[in-house]
């Protein structure tokens, strides 16, 4: 009587889980999960062997001890945070710490300059090790072996996808940082003469860039007490109405500071385009080259550049 009720309760539970579509995962994952717990040492050894014998091992970027530490950390997280129920459900909370560690490793590798293949191998070698141990454990029962292998494969594939996603994210971060750096670098304010500033703009002038340019320029005008600023746009590939608007704004701001602004480096094709677009730059002093802008600046400052005729002997 008692055994029957236990049996009934069990079937009820199974039915309940079945309703939630988890029964398969529950019953099947138990083996892989237990295996992972019991054979942790074994798996780690195999994994390390796999990693160390791999051709893509980067001893120049990561020491063997560090690699071992990373691997151990991941396996520990895998084992200690998992319970059988959530084994193949990557969305469950128990996986968070594993994913966190894996992402951390992946991002540091992206920054250190590992290739995607080398980063991916970190997970792939673990998969290999797991499958090896699984084979040793299960042995002849090919049906069970297949089922468990499928489970591990699915799991490890998911983990490797996560690795790649974070790897790419890491790389993107690097690119974004470089973009910022380029914006910083490419807006120097040069003091060409006492009272004359030059600002060569290279690349596209977008809103963020204009802000940096304007800030640097206005600050430099205050610092040096300059009265003339030359904006050289020979390095700007295309001048559309937005770029023109930004230029006009910069010129107006400079004028408010009491300095005159000259725009130089207007190429013939840009001049034509600006005219066709209908942008009115007529109340801004524009010159074709930096040299002529400088000459104009000298003239307004009543300076003269002369060739010395009398050579002293």
């Amino acid at each position: 009587m008692k055994t029957l009720s236990i049996f009934r309760r069990k079937t009820l539970i199974v039915k309940f889980i079945q309703d939630r579509n988890l029964a398969y995962q529950f019953t099947m994952s138990l083996n892989s999960y237990k295996l992972l717990q019991n054979k942790k040492k074994n798996i780690l050894e195999k994994w390390m062997n796999n990693q160390l014998s791999d051709e893509g091992l980067r001893e120049d970027l990561i020491s063997n001890e560090e690699l071992r530490y990373q691997s151990e950390e991941l396996i520990d997280a895998l084992v200690s945070n998992l319970s059988g129920e959530s084994f193949s459900d990557l969305m469950s909370e128990e996986w968070n710490s594993v994913i966190e560690i894996l992402s951390g490793i992946s991002i540091t590798r992206a920054r250190q300059g590992f290739s995607p293949r080398e980063t991916g191998n970190f997970v792939f070698t673990l998969k290999e090790a797991l499958l090896n141990v699984l084979q040793e454990e299960i042995g002849e029962d090919s049906k069970l072996l297949f089922e468990e292998s499928m489970k591990i494969t699915r799991l490890m594939d998911n983990l490797s996808v996560i690795t790649f996603e974070t790897f790419i994210k890491g790389r993107e971060e690097v690119i974004l940082r470089q973009t910022d750096e380029i914006t910083e670098i490419s807006t120097p304010v040069i003091r060409v003469w006492d009272g004359i500033l030059a600002l060569p703009i290279i690349g596209t002038l977008d809103s963020a860039r204009t802000q940096v340019v304007m800030e640097n320029l206005l600050q430099e005008i205050v610092d040096t007490g300059s009265s003339i600023a030359i904006l050289d746009i020979s390095g700007v590939p295309a001048v559309d109405s937005l770029v023109a608007q930004h230029l006009i704004k910069t010129v107006s701001a400079t004028r408010l500071m009491g300095a005159e602004c000259i725009i130089s480096g207007i190429r013939p094709e840009i001049a034509q385009t600006v005219v066709h677009l209908g942008i009115d730059l007529s109340n801004i002093i524009t010159k074709a080259s930096l040299a002529s802008a400088l000459a104009y600046a000298f003239k307004t400052m009543r300076l003269e550049v002369r060739k010395i005729n009398s050579v002293q002997k």
Binding site: T179, T204, D206, S207, A208, P237, A238, V239, D240, S241, L242, A244, Q245, P268, E269, I270, Q272, T273, H276, L277, G278, I279
Partner: protein, 147 residues
């Protein structure tokens, strides 16, 4: 026979298609470079190249500003002996209520110079705009290599 030839020379053939998706401001530069590559390939002159790129830049910026991005299609087209670039900009933005007004110099709802659309029209050979409020806007422009 004659009428057939006439339609043939007038028909615009698309030789290559290259779709580009625009979602961020950084995409503008990428898209412009793509257009430039194509223009160089069909041996467009420097002035026309600059005009086309500026026009493309205007329209892409419009798309980003008013519709949060959209899709662009870069095509190499040919009509008889002429080769050119056709650009199609499709967005799912708010649309333009009064196109005639939008095509006027100096009119802008977005604090810009208001030269984007009319200026673009002056820069290219063919300009076509269709818009429906609430559904989006499609702008097609063609610039011939020696037009």
């Amino acid at each position: 026979m004659k009428s057939w030839r006439k339609t043939w020379t007038k028909m615009i053939l698309s030789l290559s298609k290259d779709p580009v998706k625009i979602v961020r401001e950084q995409d503008v530069i990428l898209f412009r470079n793509r257009v430039k590559e194509m223009a160089v390939k069909i041996k467009m002159g420097l002035v026309n190249q600059t005009r086309l790129i500026t026009a493309a830049s205007e329209l892409v910026r419009n798309m980003l500003r008013y519709a949060d991005g959209g899709n662009c299609l870069i095509e190499v087209v040919s009509r008889g002996r002429d080769n050119g670039i056709r650009l199609t900009f499709t967005d799912q933005g708010p649309g333009i209520a009064d196109i005639d007004l939008a095509m006027k110099d100096g009119y802008s709802t977005g604090k810009s110079l208001g030269l984007g659309l009319p200026g673009t029209k002056r820069l290219v050979n063919e300009f076509n705009i269709k818009s429906k409020v609430g559904e989006g806007t499609v702008v097609t422009i063609i610039k011939w290599a020696n037009g």
